[in-house]
């Protein structure tokens, strides 16, 4: 079976094309482009990506409106069936607002929009998204966000840590995130939300290739599964 994926576009998404190109180049197969108003997803999906951007102009709260759009109900059902779902940046905000991941992403502690390459530590190298990395590996991936300050109550944070659900941690001060969390997994391990943009680090012309292993991990995990 060929690898089948979908990239969701909300009004205001702006990293959807980059995401589709990254998946095409690294994972191959068929990449469907799906509009937020679609109530159904294509059949036989292996992987769904929610891209970065400013869906619905960040009205109300970042990701809040997108999380209630028709297509997200289909994404939630797909995630419950075990389809791999990646949310990057605004996509991460949408996943928390939709309740697929715990916590919330608040305004950066330093108020300013942060747009630069940052060092991350791979905390969990066992997940279907991170199996291509080494545990503790230091990688460099760019961030570009205003609301990336991860917040959850202490009990939730303790649980995420104990269950190995912190996928990536910032190795430097970026946005004030609780416990420097940059990306987290859901309980089942098939949903990953992260603020840094792996799709922007897949070929040397982009300044690095540290994001490739994430997409390679997804395709390898799903093909061998």
């Amino acid at each position: 079976m060929a690898f089948t994926s979908a990239v969701i576009t909300f009004p205001g998404s702006n990293c959807d094309r980059d995401m589709a190109v990254a998946i095409e180049q690294v994972c191959g197969g068929t990449v469907h482009r799906v509009w937020h108003g679609d109530a159904d997803l294509p059949d036989g999906l292996d992987f769904i990506a929610l891209p970065g951007g400013f869906s619905y102009g960040d009205y109300l709260r970042s990701g809040a409106m997108a999380a209630r759009s028709p297509v997200m109900q289909a994404v939630v059902r797909a995630a419950e069936r075990g389809v791999a779902v990646l949310g990057v940046c605004n996509g991460f905000q949408v996943l928390t607002e939709a309740g697929l991941l715990p916590g919330a992403l608040m305004r950066n502690a330093g108020i300013r929009f942060v747009c630069r390459d940052v060092a991350l530590t791979v905390e969990n190298s066992q997940s279907l998204f991170t199996a291509g990395y080494e545990a503790g590996q230091r990688i460099v991936i760019p961030v570009a966000h205003h609301d990336g300050n991860y917040f959850a109550d202490d009990a939730t944070l303790d649980r995420l840590e104990a269950e190995g659900r912190v996928a990536f941690r910032y190795a430097e001060q970026v946005n004030g995130s609780a416990r420097d969390i940059a990306g987290i997994l859901n309980e089942r391990g098939n949903v990953l939300g992260m603020m840094p943009h792996p799709e922007r680090m897949i070929e040397p012309a982009q300044g690095g290739t540290d994001g490739r292993a994430l997409f390679e991990s997804v395709v390898r995990s799903l093909v061998s599964a």
Binding site: A104, M106, R107, I111, F151
Partner: protein
């Protein structure tokens, strides 16, 4: 019927915007400001028959993010 929903950050949740406003007030020379918390007011015009339960559900499902925010509903007298 006019309804006003006040959405505020929960106690203990860091509010960088409130802090920036606080600094700006001090920069303007206002003294004695102990703390500033920024929130949001949403005004709804709803059918008179709208129940408290329905308003609560609107707040919990969309208007407030219960992870970080509290809300208060005020019905116009």
């Amino acid at each position: 019927m006019k309804v006003r929903v006040l959405v505020t950050l929960k106690n203990g949740v860091l509010d960088p915007q409130g802090r920036a406003i606080h600094h700006a007030l001090e920069g303007l020379g206002f003294s004695g400001v102990n703390d500033v918390r920024a929130g949001r007011v949403i005004e709804l015009d709803v059918a008179d028959s709208t129940t408290d339960e329905a308003l609560d559900e609107m707040c919990r499902k969309l208007l407030a993010n219960m992870v970080i925010e509290n809300y208060r509903i005020e019905r116009a007298a």
